[in-house]
Symmetry: D2
Subunit: 303 residues, 4 copies
């Protein structure tokens, strides 16, 4: 992300309808549109966004616009113990004579996705559809251009299952116009993206952008009907957890005006963590607090 | 765990009713019964359990047997970024003039727990009661005696919110009789035990033990009405995740007879992770698969 | 690194004499020439260098061109235990009423460097001068532009004390012309750069560039009169060690034609590790083998 | 370590001459004396040692007492990247049809050690003899019994090449009499013990024990003719580094009476790190300061 001229301009409050290509650049007709890993839609120039602001992106709708999906075939070896790899060396070396990708198909009722290839079609159960965006974020600070396979304080390839309809994501703004990017849709994905992909597919997406002037945040934040959450992207996984936990603490103290002890007591007894990805160069850890446990304070909002 | 003579003998299929002290050794009347950190109930000698078997412990009931609970006051600094600690140094240095523990009380209806101490009583919301055991496990291998503040393949201080009524935990047997220990009850706990404690309390507990002869597992496993799960205990957090992920893979391949590709495809699209603890010397990561996504194969069972 | 037009063109075998600014952009007269962190000299376009080649940079001379140096004042808190930080919270919070930097001066004989500021001048011993370059590397792959405060397979801010006169560094070429950058000179530095700086100073530098056509390497390599070495840059430190160790193994097998067992036996009994930095976003670990333990095979060389 | 009755009693200032078995329990005649991993000599009860004291162990002589040594055959896969393992899967799976160990022999002049097995005898160079003890330490705290394949604040299986003649190691005392253990001699070893063994051999050892009453230390410390050093044992490697770095800081401030800024400035410009092991359950990192850079203060000494 970063390093591209803005492709679209959006004003705060506007709703955008667009599409995303799959992680290899194929569109809704399974035509190759673009080379490279995780080609994204954007950048969207958010009118009047300045460094020090933050933007909110509410995902209204997200749905696959074709039925064919694909995945990698094997779990990532770095997530398995040497002992297990030694028992099942194919996990490391690969399986000879087989193509790289496994094809999956979304059922006609749009509720599940299933392997197409035999014999796995019979032995692997259908998985409930749960569309999400693997990549979303803004241009990074200091004029950098960073590949869309990794993530940072600017968002990026976070592969968090919670980036889904009903969620609003907040990103810090580092460059004028913020330069919002999104893509890398998955029809389903287990936590951690431990196989290296979700069921990769192109998407129709509808989202609303809001500009929160003068609201400075350190890392991506979000909310959905049940939780508030913060996202840390780093290696090792402890560092990702530190960033997410610290951003939640800052949220409670700075925006909810809780004291240090109050925020500690509340977080210690009520946070939940979700692993975003443990596959990409930066791992992603999400720190969540149930809305029902939060005092009735206003949300971070436009100044 | 390890290093004690068995205190009780249990046969497979028997149900045990007992109590646990809180993490500082106080009982249901708030009397100090025992010194040290995390004094446990047990060890229970499981009749006919031999190395190479595994035992299942089904938690039938678990409920606090007194209303007073306690917690530490502040989040653990190693889970926060240096930047945040630098903004809020009290998180590292502590808060002068205040006692160490914060008292909480379970509401008369037994559904929530709330801070007693002012002014936090007003500012920290009630938390829904969700009783769990912080410590459960068996004697470790090789004649070791290991403190009950850490965890390993033998279980131990895992501080996982899923060790709760309705769950069955499976442990490998390393010594004749297995030597089951349990304790360290929490009325509530956020994921990760990031404040260093749950709401610590003594408990009444009822559990059933089953012996699974000849069923060799590598790390603790479990099941509850919605999921199967495996538990890894190690540092760093990636290693804990590797152990849990590898044990789940072994479960699917060895017991469910899935192929390597099948197990990979299923896990990549359906695992969920939960952070047990990131406070203790060994961190705990749980790898879960929804029961609905598993093929209709038999559970690991008594041979 | 990356994202700049080439400033100079160099042919293989040419010797370059140039200067580097200090880490804050000050020159030999202590004048501010440039904003930002770690401004570098370059990029040098290496004639005929193509992706898949590697370049060698032999550091012939490197010496401070002014006597005044500066450092940060305190150790980096993320390298200390919470227990120690709790005893000495100033390490985290900082020391009020004092300026940020500590001034050091190189002795007139050019052999040591010493703190200028009282009372530290008396209590901190002189340190033997050992000039090195904190930053050296090439443009990264995939058109990225990456800040000069971090490091990767392209080199960068490695802060390794062995990047010094008498060493030759080898870098993979990712873009036509390689685009070599260098700077961030230190008159001295402890391993790890655990205070966040060496004794920062501007430098005169003389180096020779050689192009090794068709010689593909994965990570920076190097040699000096006593050792061959490889450099890994990543977080966590284990990952940096994995990259360095794996690159050394590949070197022995691919270039020295050792077998897998031979390379394993040799490395297991003779590698030495040096910590480059544990301060920057990517940590640096160096894997070395004494030249005397290596069979008498040719060095990687121009094809 | 821990869990054994004392085998010998030693008074402060006494010199002990003894032998150690190799890591599989074989003695100077290559006879199996003992089962298990890393059988140790001891425990030595240090007269009048009490918790809160520390003991110093000066290694006077250490030399192999037989010429035959053995090593494992391949590098440990967890120290290599998945990419490299995928190129050379034998590193993970092992090499079929070959025995587990590789035999080495010490040259008649006692100066080098060389592989015996063909064809490696020709292709792997002789390695200079550098005898060291892989294991040394005391009984751990809290009545624990901990296997001799791991390490902690009590020392243990640190596999640091600096535990060698000319070095003095200091250990905290956790139980009355300290209970000193030692063994696991290596004729040579690369840093990190990345193949899982040094050249394993039985040893003659002569050491002097000194009791330092009332001198409380947190982690093993040491000194040799050129350096003072501290040792951290933990996972991940960063945690080991934190413990070693923090213990050195405490040493400078508590014993050398340096101020916080002085200790920071000195350490930042002069520490050196050495990797002890990255093979065992706990990794070992050593933080060193050259004696020449230390102010002329007394060493920690008997009170």
């Amino acid at each position: 992300m970063g390093g591209h001229e803005p492709a679209f301009e959006v004003h705060s409050g506007e709703i955008v309808e667009t599409t995303t290509l799959d992680a290899h650049g194929y569109d809704e007709n399974d035509r190759s549109i673009c080379e490279g890993q995780n080609p994204l839609t954007g950048p969207f120039f958010i009118n009047e966004a300045k460094p020090g602001d933050c933007i909110g992106v509410r995902i209204i709708d997200l749905s696959p616009n074709r039925s064919s999906c694909w995945t990698r075939r094997l779990l990532a070896p770095h997530l398995l113990t040497p002992e297990l790899l030694s028992r099942f060396p194919e996990l490391l070396i690969g399986i000879p004579g087989e193509g790289k990708h496994v094809d999956w198909a979304i059922a006609p009722d749009g509720r599940t996705v299933r392997v197409v290839e035999e014999p796995y079609r019979e032995s692997v159960p259908s998985i409930d559809l749960a569309p999400m965006l693997g990549c979303i974020g803004v241009a990074p600070p200091e004029g950098q251009a960073i590949v869309t396979t990794t993530a940072g304080a600017h968002g990026g390839n976070m592969d968090y299952v919670g980036i889904a309809p009903g969620s609003t994501l907040y990103f810090p703004v580092f460059v004028p116009g913020a330069h919002l990017y999104l893509g890398d849709g998955h029809a389903t994905q287990g936590h951690g993206e431990i196989g290296g992909t979700g069921t990769e597919v192109s998407m129709d997406v509808r989202f609303e952008v809001r500009l929160l002037k003068g609201h400075r945040i350190g890392w991506p934040r979000g909310e959905n009907p049940t939780h508030f959450f913060t996202i840390g992207n780093a290696r090792p996984l402890e560092n990702a957890l530190q960033h997410a936990t610290s951003e939640m603490f800052a949220w409670l103290v700075d925006d909810y005006r809780l004291g240090i002890v109050d925020a500690s007591l509340l977080m210690a007894q009520s946070v939940e963590y979700e692993v975003g990805n443990v596959f990409d160069p930066a791992y992603t850890m999400v720190c969540k607090i149930p809305r029902r446990h939060l005092p009735d304070h206003p949300l971070p909002r436009e100044v």
